[in-house]
């Protein structure tokens, strides 16, 4: 029986460089799929909100690419766009850097 582990139990602690590598790969995958709208991988790249190149559907697509890689590489199964992320006053999806920090915080919580 395939059973979920309820999120991230067993997920080892993540390093910032590893998370950034996942984000870089997700950017490449997103750009390959998307075609007309290209993301630039840089810490200051805005993802969502004013001045950001992505609309809400683009953001979902990008987050799916990130989630798939986090799950495959680190066993991290927690959805990034859950209620908590969406309800934060300052969205964790503002820039590539804030997204990386958010992923690291989820990883750290799992190992507490």
């Amino acid at each position: 029986m395939v059973q979920g582990d309820g999120g991230m139990k067993g997920c080892r602690s993540l390093k910032r460089e590893e998370v950034l590598e996942v984000l870089r790969e997700a950017v490449e995958a997103f750009n390959a799929i998307h075609g007309e709208k290209q993301l630039v991988f840089a810490l200051e790249t805005p993802l969502f909100g004013s001045g950001a190149p992505l609309d809400s559907l683009d953001l979902v697509m990008f987050l799916v690419e990130v989630e798939a890689r986090l799950a495959d590489r680190f066993g991290m199964e927690h959805p990034l766009s859950d209620d908590r992320a969406m309800s934060q006053q300052r969205s964790p999806f503002r820039t590539m850097a804030t997204l990386a920090e958010y992923v690291l915080s989820l990883g750290a919580e799992a190992n507490e």
């Binding site: 395939v2 979920g4 697509m61 989630e67 798939a68 199964e77």
Partner: protein, 233 residues
């Protein structure tokens, strides 16, 4: 990576799900299936997952396995379901929770995770199974019909949300069909139900497969958010 259509069907241990596995295998598809029990089929092109569709993480893990094996998902048939014929006043709350969990939440979770895989190729066909008990409003099936009614509303809205990704979402609602699901229903009750249908006869598996095929075809790209009730309801 195969070029045949990749199809995932839930609830494949018996009944419609098991027959749909055979149907798509006969079409040369790569088929994945899931149920809480063992595989109904042993075929090179069939992969079985023992998964409870109400377990969100397990569903996500299954979808990642499909992604690793095939690299994509073309067709998803949400068939897993349970029934309980009982008057509302004598239905335990736990039974209602179980019905909603398997019939609606399960369909939602599998559709959500399946769509994530489909959207990467901007193509997909999601087909959710409901029942004619929804439009017929059959007494004694209030909870079952409500859970399947939720599937209908969910599908209609999901069709709008996923349209930008080239994913269609539709519903097939079979009439009574001779499966284990209705094994405990009295014949008089079934006849009463059939009498409300213009077709006035049991659905066959071929009827269901035909409707599923219609929605699953690549040519059905403009057909989304539709409900196809069998038997004329």
């Amino acid at each position: 990576m195969s070029e045949e259509r990749v199809v995932l069907i839930t609830g494949t241990s018996r009944g419609i799900g098991r027959d749909l596995v055979r149907h798509f295998l006969a079409q040369g598809c790569q088929v994945a299936g899931c149920s809480r029990g063992a595989a109904p089929e042993s075929a090179p092109a069939y992969t079985h997952f023992e998964v409870d569709v109400t377990d969100e993480a397990a569903v996500a893990a299954m979808m990642r396995a499909v992604a690793r094996q095939h690299g994509r998902l073309d067709v998803l048939v949400n068939n897993a379901g349970i029934a309980s014929m009982n008057l509302a006043l004598t239905t335990p709350g736990k039974t209602a929770e179980r019905l909603m969990a398997t019939n609606f939440i399960g369909s939602f979770l599998v559709a959500k995770e399946g769509a994530k895989l489909m959207m990467r190729r901007r193509y997909g066909r999601i087909i959710n199974l409901s029942t004619v008990a929804v439009p017929l409003r059959v007494e004694g099936e209030s909870i079952y019909a409500a859970s399947k009614s939720a599937v209908v509303t969910f599908t209609r809205i999901l069709a709008k949300e996923l349209a930008p990704f080239g994913i269609t979402c539709n519903v097939v609602g079979p009439g009574p069909i001779r499966t284990d699901l209705i094994a405990g229903v009295p014949e008089s009750k079934l006849q009463q139900l059939l009498d409300q249908l213009p077709a006035k006869q049991f659905c066959t598996f071929a009827d269901v497969a035909n409707a599923v095929d219609f929605f699953a075809k690549p040519e059905s790209q403009a057909i989304t958010g539709q409900i196809l009730y069998l038997g004329g309801a």
